[in-house]
């Protein structure tokens, strides 16, 4: 009898203990893979700890329709001369250790980034145009000269070198850094779960550094917009590869998975309602060393532009994973101009004529060239190598030239591009903020390609600071026309990612937007705070 009573007691206790555990909703999600050095987006972007952006609250962010939504800021205003922006923060925001979150933490984040080797520092120069940024990062000016000021606890003032009408959308990547923690521990504050503090909708529970997977929990102290509907979020980069993610999804170990081309038919037949598509705001294009033969001849570049059959490419080798790109801007992206995109047609005759005009009729006498692409993971892994082979065959057939292919690891590819160690590249680029200046900026005044085209730079500079949006878009269209006429790039494709989502996952986050796309973790703040699990 005694044993029975004891057993019953144990059972009751166990049930009581397990109820909260059952009531907890945990979502297991794949996540982009990075090295996972620091859990601080403002310390490193390319090597950041998984989910570091979800731990902090940005000034503003985008919802699923790409509407800019204030987050830490409540409102913002631009000065008459267009050079100064004033951001008013919400009151009552706190760090997870109870310290108040102030304007000082945001200002400190950028001051620190400018001086400590932030691998995303270029963004705040080329996108943000913050006064003094270039000088401070190059070490020729003191950090106090930056155009950043915490006027009071809730007011930030940002001064830019030229009017930046799109600055608020740039702030979607501006996260605060806990100054009180850095004062105490230096950059090491973001290395250990026990010392990491957060200001965003999630807090960190654990971090497995070997594969950079994390467990986040709903923050108890967060008072900003978009509080999570789930209790726990496991973000696991090892689930990112569809080859690993889909089996785990099928076995019930993950709540959604990205798909590779081979998996799409299987997943579609089993989960017809669970398929989600996302047109990533990204473009793959060919770029050149404009100073090196044979691509220093505009006719050669124009020939390449007309020699690509984008429709065939995306309906065969890249079926389901890419759509044709006629423009550097993806469809749906602000400033996208369908008329300009329509110019990118497949015209073998025109291509041959341009090549003949360059002195290489039917490709005769054209040197063998080697196209370099970056060997990487994610959606580009499926797209770029296959595309390179397609281009190889296509250029042989249409232009009669031999294109060799070489895959390089990221740093070597970048080194080749920057150091002009080769003359032709396949370059992928994914947007960083939602404004045409983002894509045009990569060719501006050197940019990432070492292109120096004075006419282009002049138009883009004008467009960047134009406050009338119609005029701006017109100027960008002009810049793009110039890119086409001078054959600066060959737009190839825009990637599309496909995922399968469990029917247990519900909420606005998994519903497609008005364009029919579901961004999933690409809009992390929106997505992970707008999902729930049955």
């Amino acid at each position: 009898m005694n044993t029975l009573v004891r057993l019953a007691g144990v059972l009751v206790a166990a049930t009581a203990l397990s109820i909260p555990a059952f009531a907890q909703t945990t979502v297991v999600a794949p996540s982009g893979s990075t090295a996972g050095t620091y859990m601080d987006y403002m310390k490193t972007v390319y090597d950041r700890g998984t989910g570091s952006e979800l731990l902090q609250i940005p000034i503003a962010t985008f919802d699923k329709e790409f509407e800019l939504t204030p987050m830490a800021a409540e409102s913002w205003t631009q000065s008459e001369d267009g050079l100064t922006w004033t951001f008013k923060l919400r009151s009552g925001l706190v760090w997870s250790d109870g310290e108040p979150l102030t304007a000082e933490d945001f200002v400190f984040a950028l001051q620190h980034a400018a001086t400590s080797g932030y691998d995303f520092a270029w963004y705040w120069d080329f996108a943000g145009g913050i006064k003094g940024w270039k000088e401070v990062t190059e070490g020729t000016a003191d950090v106090s000269t930056l155009g950043l000021k915490a006027v009071d606890d809730l007011t930030i003032e940002v001064t830019t070198v030229a009017p930046k009408p799109y600055l608020p959308s740039v702030t979607s990547l501006w996260y605060p850094v806990p100054k009180h923690k850095v004062d105490e521990l230096g950059d090491d504050w973001s290395l250990d779960v026990s010392t990491i503090v957060s200001s965003g909708p999630f807090e960190i529970e654990s971090w497995e550094k070997s594969n950079n997977s994390v467990v986040l929990t709903k923050s108890d102290t967060y008072t900003g917009p978009w509080s999570p509907m789930i209790d726990r979020l496991e973000l696991d980069p090892t689930l990112n590869a569809p080859e690993v993610g889909l089996p785990a999804f099928l076995a019930g170990d993950a709540d959604y998975s990205f798909l590779n081309t081979g998996q799409v038919p299987v997943a579609t037949s089993r989960y017809p309602d669970g398929i989600r598509k996302n047109a990533v705001f990204a473009t793959s294009y060919i770029s050149y060393d404009l100073d090196a033969a044979p691509f220093n001849d505009v006719n050669v570049r124009r020939a390449f532009y007309y020699a690509v059959n984008r429709d065939e490419l995306t309906s065969t080798v890249l079926k389901d994973i890419a759509i044709p790109a006629g423009s550097i801007l993806p469809p749906g992206y602000p400033g996208y101009n369908p008329d300009i995109a329509a110019e990118a047609v497949f015209d073998p005759e025109k291509a041959k004529k341009f090549l003949a005009d360059a002195g290489f009729p039917n490709g005769e006498g054209f040197p063998d060239v080697e196209i370099w692409y970056r060997d990487e993971g994610g959606y580009n892994k499926a797209i770029v190598p296959a595309m390179a082979q397609y281009l190889q065959a296509e250029f042989k057939e249409v232009l009669g030239i031999t294109l060799n292919i070489r895959a390089l690891p990221g740093p070597e590819w970048m080194d080749g591009l920057r150091g002009k160690k080769n003359n032709i590249f396949i370059a992928p680029y994914e947007y960083d903020y939602l404004d045409p200046s983002n894509f045009y900026g990569i060719f501006y005044n050197g940019g990432r390609h070492g292109y120096f085209i004075p006419e282009y730079d002049e138009i883009v500079a004008k467009a960047d600071s134009e406050s009338d949006w119609d005029t701006r878009y017109k100027l960008y269209a002009e810049a793009e026309q110039l890119m086409i006429d001078q054959g600066l790039i060959v737009p190839l494709v825009h990637p599309v990612t496909i995922a399968v989502v469990s029917d247990q996952l519900t909420g606005d986050g998994v519903q497609p937007n008005s364009l029919g796309f579901t961004q999933l973790d690409r809009l992390g703040h929106y997505f992970f705070t707008h999902i729930t699990k049955q």
Binding site: G36, Y38, D188, V244, E412
Partner: protein
């Protein structure tokens, strides 16, 4: 024997130095550095500052001696891809899952392989032999990423008996261990079969049979012992190869092990970690061959280490 061991230890040290120089030079001859951004460059000034912080601005030979001086004190530096811990801490953390899964894989696969190989040899040209050969050939020819995919598909997706992947719950170990075990099983089945057959054909076995010894004693006492030498040769290197983690198996089964670091340390130019991993492997192979030599001597008194026969 002692003199030989001392000589071998010295040769280990020598190998170690040669390997370290070669790795160091190769590592630094690859273009790009640990602080070259993936997409957009950091400013020259900042990059120089970071290089200086890690001593990477110094001449190569100085960097080499600094590193090796640290190694002598068991200080392998700080991994660039995981600041906040030392290389030693990183390896001892990440090695655990690899050692557990890979080690158990070999420890389970090898005996099974030996049994299979013996069964095949003792029943030559029977169905047992054919099954064993087929299993061995499949185990050696099917790449682990295919084996792992099949195991996941069958046991996790179709039958739903086991989780597809993950760590650390022990029920998640089963599939990766099965995957790891396939190679030693196949290798051992083949080696054992041919070693046992080879021994069975030796004159001494005929003598033993003539002497009237029972078949059981012949097999277990004499044949097995004499067949063990080739098996000893493959055991330790195989153990090291498996227990340092396979990038494929660990990726497929989402194991937070050491495997991925072999690749990532090269990709991100994590010099300190790259050196440490290579030195670790070198060291282990040296020790493995040393131990194998000693084991030979114990198994076969006619073999005298150091050529003193």
């Amino acid at each position: 024997m002692l003199g030989h061991i001392i000589r071998r230890v010295l040769s280990v040290a020598f190998t170690f130095i040669i390997v370290s120089v070669i790795i160091f030079l190769m590592m630094h001859s690859v273009p790009g550095g640990p602080f070259d951004a993936n997409d957009m460059p950091v400013s020259e000034a900042v990059r120089a500052k970071m290089m200086a912080q890690w001593g990477l601005d110094q001449p190569l030979h100085v960097q080499y001696f600094n590193y090796m001086w640290g190694v002598l004190h068991l200080d392998f530096g700080v991994p660039f891809q995981s600041p906040g811990e030392t290389v030693v801490e990183l390896i001892s953390r990440a090695w655990v899952p690899s050692l557990v899964l890979g080690g158990l894989g070999v420890l389970i696969g090898a005996p099974l392989g030996i049994l299979l190989g013996m069964a095949a040899a003792l029943n030559r040209n029977s169905w047992i032999d054919y099954v064993a050969s087929t299993v061995a050939t499949l185990g050696l020819t099917i790449p682990v990423f295919v084996t792992s995919m099949l195991l996941i598909l069958i046991f996790a997706v179709w039958l739903n008996w086991l989780p597809a992947s993950g760590w650390p719950q022990p029920n998640r170990w089963i599939l990766p261990i099965a995957c790891y075990a396939a190679i030693p099983l196949a290798t051992y089945a083949r080696y054992t079969r041919s070693a046992v057959l080879d021994t069975l054909n030796r004159p001494f076995v005929t003598v033993l049979r003539a002497k009237g010894l029972s078949e059981r004693r012949i097999i277990f006492q004499h044949v097995m012992r004499n067949s063990a030498i080739p098996l000893v040769t493959v055991f330790l290197p195989m153990f090291i190869g498996t227990a340092t983690g396979s990038i494929f198996v660990e990726a497929m089964f989402r194991v937070p092990g050491l495997g991925a670091y072999f690749v990532s340390s090269i990709q991100v130019r994590d010099y300190t970690l790259q050196m440490a991993l290579m030195l670790l492997i070198t060291f282990m192979y040296c020790i493995a061959y040393l131990l194998s030599d000693i084991a030979y001597a114990l198994l076969n008194p006619r073999i005298r280490v150091g050529g003193a026969e």
